[in-house]
Symmetry: C3
Subunit: 211 residues, 3 copies
Amino acid sequence: MSTSTGAYTALYLIESAATLAFALSGVVEAARRRLDAVGVVVVAGLAAFGGGTLRDVLLDRRPFFWVTHTELLWAVLCVGIGAMVFMRRRHLEPTERAMQWPDAVGMGLFAASGTQISLSMGQPALVSVILGMVTAVFGGVLRDIVCNDIPKVFRDHRPYALLAFLGGWVLVLADTLGAPSWLGLSVAAVVATALRMLAIWRAWTIPTWLG
Amino acid sequence: MSTSTGAYTALYLIESAATLAFALSGVVEAARRRLDAVGVVVVAGLAAFGGGTLRDVLLDRRPFFWVTHTELLWAVLCVGIGAMVFMRRRHLEPTERAMQWPDAVGMGLFAASGTQISLSMGQPALVSVILGMVTAVFGGVLRDIVCNDIPKVFRDHRPYALLAFLGGWVLVLADTLGAPSWLGLSVAAVVATALRMLAIWRAWTIPTWLG
Amino acid sequence: MSTSTGAYTALYLIESAATLAFALSGVVEAARRRLDAVGVVVVAGLAAFGGGTLRDVLLDRRPFFWVTHTELLWAVLCVGIGAMVFMRRRHLEPTERAMQWPDAVGMGLFAASGTQISLSMGQPALVSVILGMVTAVFGGVLRDIVCNDIPKVFRDHRPYALLAFLGGWVLVLADTLGAPSWLGLSVAAVVATALRMLAIWRAWTIPTWLG
């Protein structure tokens, strides 16, 4: 029972952190695009909740994370409004690159938590890893589409979905080896996030179509 | 029991009116874009049923409105085909602005009915208001995306989602004060629609990012 | 019981064939766009599984086809990777037109299977035909959107959604006449696919808005 409570707490902390990281990436992106106040909050909300919501719809899982924890809705609302009030243009200049960090953190955390949730609902490993990838990727895709941008995941030719996929398999491996769920979640999230940061820093690219 | 039947009737009337208003906005938009006959019907259908369907998927509510009331599917099919047959170019000149009126009516009605449906399924107030906003906004977003347009809700810098959000809170307030549901629905829909029309007429804008 | 097993087998074969046909159309499209290895697999997967997944979400039907039959996930993964390894530029030159054939086959098969599945869950005929059309069209729409293309279904002014709609009604008719389900499925799929091929070959167009 205490293990189960511990696992639940680890999952809650990771989902909340991923949600706030993506909300931040949405605020920065909306600010760069000079959206109005409503646009900032909408983009932050889509980035924060889009991936987890699609995962839960596919898994037919209710209530959604943001219905059980409405404090996260209020938090994202406050992040959006706070950013409007306190951020100024001089804060935005460096953000084109800075925005990649919360995006990488959210990606790694959601890949881990999405895979874990799907496994714990009895889905096969491959399905769980794909749903982890969907959780990690879809919020950012919505954010970029609403900002009228080609989604970063399809655009920058650096591994992104691939690393979410890899992070999911790390979690499946940890689970198979019998590691406690907080450990598997942490290792998978750290691996996916760290590799993404390395990929940006070292400009890794994915092999393209051979001509 | 008679109250419950009355509430159901009010909801049915409001959902039907909103569906037809959005179908009309879709026909006008598709006509402006010179889509073919199939495109007109598809755009009318997406505008009419998109918002309510996404709301019901998120709420895990079945059957959909258009499955219980297939007469609405036939009605939208007839609106689309009728428009193809009877409308001519001379009817279309003024529609860029004229299309805003059915759009505003559909938005107000769906914001009210979406919030009401979500509340009656026991969702928290903030969640219900957000789902009302989703109902009000998503049909128009699909309509504009299929017409290869940036969604109006993100484009015109006039309050839209914000007014749907406000209309939802009016309904929550009426509900909390113990008003009968037909009254809350009507007041919320009128407030959201009237404010949207005022916003277009008086060219109200939302504060943008402070530079 | 043997009838039911036979019906299930026919449905399984048709869904699998449609899935692979759309995966192939996705690989060809992604290759034409010079996407990277991950992009090819993602586009193939969205084309293959997008339509059936949306249908099942709308019908609230679980598990998804690709969860019960994970061998199809592996097959699409292999098709994507195999294409990357074995296809070369000289294979791609003629594919702009060649890609229309797997697309037409997938459309006809999914229109039939989608309508059948919806009917067998007790949905009304019009709803079932619409869900068959959604199954047939949505995978291709996702494929084209991710490749940053206007969806073919809205672009080429040749009947596509209309033929999926027609194929669905053929299946409803066969069902009403008491034909065994494998026969209805086959006839509906052949009619929709053959008419689509004819439409491309003979350059049939849909009447556009009358000026």
